[in-house]
């Protein structure tokens, strides 16, 4: 029995991986598009979650996505001719720099004020993109080139874009998972638990918080680059508060306490949005009801559902056994 325990996790992961790789065989057209966007959103959600482990609910996360996206758009299409494969990491780096810059005012704040200051910073950036023609102004930049062909693979159609997004997402998930389980992740959680105590222990709390903030923003930037090169256009409207709210909702609904919770929350919310696709105007209401419901009845997120359900399941099992006899 014990050996089985050691095998199930890697086995399950391998099956999942296979599933993800084979998906494009079954999924086409609109649904493939949804899948690609979902994949990119996973990067956003795991990076966002990292910042929550230090107690920060970062409302500038989507703006960081925009920073990466605009960097790449400007360098590949509007002003220069740089290749996508260069601007992809560059977008992340610029986002990281911007995050470092705003970390000075923002990390001094805590709780609600952190949310506010990051929100203000993000909004300011968005306004800059809208107002200044340098960034394309209100109408953004369009069209944007697809990723340049590499190793003979072209990125005009959806499928190669899916695999590109998948590879980068898997890499990101891996990195954030390791980060979460590492001493750094541990230290960050300790800082969240009692920052003063950690300072007294000799931990440079500011340094760790900034590190987390910057790393998360780097990946948000990368997600942004992926998004706009897939969509072929960039528009400041895309990096809206609503988008940020969606990521936060996914994190809370899934449960920020675990690594995998936010991913599950994202998948569920995306599924819900798609199911109610025809009733588009009602979607915000469904979101609202969902999140209020989860907050009131499942405060630690959907990941706790199995645990909550297990007494009920046990009861059902016992009844079942009783009937069978």
């Amino acid at each position: 029995m014990k050996n089985r325990g050691n095998l199930t996790k890697p086995l399950a992961l391998a099956v999942l991986l296979l599933f993800l790789i084979l998906l494009p065989l079954f999924v086409r057209g609109y649904w493939l598009d949804v899948l690609i966007l979902l994949t990119i959103n996973v990067i956003l959600v795991v990076s966002f979650r990292l910042v929550t482990t230090m107690g920060g609910w970062n409302f500038a996360h989507i703006a960081m996505m925009g920073v990466g996206a605009y960097t790449s758009a400007l360098l590949t299409t509007k002003y220069l001719d740089w290749p996508f494969w260069l601007t992809l990491p560059l977008g992340g780096l610029v986002a990281a720099f911007v995050a470092l810059a705003i970390s000075y005012p923002c990390l001094r704040t805590k709780g609600f004020y952190f949310f506010l200051s990051t929100f203000a910073a993000g909004e300011a950036m968005r306004q800059v993109w809208i107002r200044f023609q340098f960034f394309g102004g209100k109408y953004g930049i369009c069209p944007i080139i697809h990723p340049n062909p590499i190793l003979g693979i072209e990125f005009v159609r959806a499928v190669p874009n899916y695999y590109l997004a998948l590879v980068i997402t898997l890499l990101s998930v891996f990195i954030f998972y390791r980060l979460d389980k590492s001493r750094i992740g541990d230290t960050v959680k300790a800082i969240n638990s009692d920052e003063e105590l950690c300072e007294a222990m000799g931990i440079n709390t500011w340094g760790y918080k900034a590190l987390v903030f910057v790393v998360a923003s780097f990946f948000a930037g990368i997600a942004g680059v992926l998004l706009v090169h897939y969509n072929g256009l960039i528009n400041a409207e895309a990096f809206s508060v609503a988008y940020c709210y969606k990521i936060i909702t996914a994190t809370i609904i899934g449960g920020a306490a675990t690594f995998v919770g936010p991913i599950i929350g994202l998948v569920v919310m995306t599924g819900v949005t798609e199911i109610f696709r025809d009733l588009l105007e009602w979607v915000p209401l469904i979101y609202g009801v969902f999140i209020i419901g989860v907050l009131l009845f499942l405060p630690d997120g959907l990941v706790t559902l199995p645990r909550r359900m297990s007494p009920l399941i046990k009861k059902i099992q016992m009844i079942g056994k009783g009937i069978a006899r």
Partner: protein
Amino acid sequence: MKILELVGLSKEFGELVAVNDIDLVIEEGEIRGLIGPNGSGKTTLFNLISGFIRPTKGKVIWQGHDITGKSPHTITKKGLARTFQLTTLLKERTALQNVVMACHLHTEMGLFEQFLRRGGAPEKEKKVERKAMAILEAMGIAHVQGEIAGELPHGYQRALGIAIALASDPKLLLLDEPVTGMNPVETRDMMERIKKLRDSGVTILLVEHDMKAVMGTCEKITAMNFGKKIGEGLPEEISKNKDVIEAYLGA
């Protein structure tokens, strides 16, 4: 040798002068007591020394270097550690995990090694654990290393607080009410351990209300009231000092 020197240290919170022009010298190897009624500014003084708040005036000099206004983690790094009055612990973690985290400065791990999954630098992690266990032993709580910190009895929690401070290998330890809330047996035990700490090379500055413990352990005592120093000297002198007696009776 002077290990800590406070020169004209003051802290004002608007109208309130919490710490008023304090001059203090601690010699290496001392066990110094700091006494005074509630609200006399003792904890504020601790906060000033350890970098948690910035003074309005004055200097904090550590081993000859000015550390006034430096951040707490830098000061801890320089060898000055403190405990907290309220039980400040990582409450959801075990006692051992608390001390392991507190060994942060001495893990000998670079940032990248810290990024590797636990087990990525297994030798160093094990070393840290051994060190943490040794500290728990020294504080007499090794037997509860696997217990959740928040669930430990009060006395063990206080001991854990000191263990956490010891993890940074301090040369001076600021103890904020180490035996408050303990019964006489626990108190005596703790004060013995504190003496042993000093014998092993850690200078001690402690704040306490338990007069018996203070008089019995400290070699020199500084008394404060209303943010000012009102007396300093040997325990016998202080116990006869009129101002000190008045401060406590008047409070």
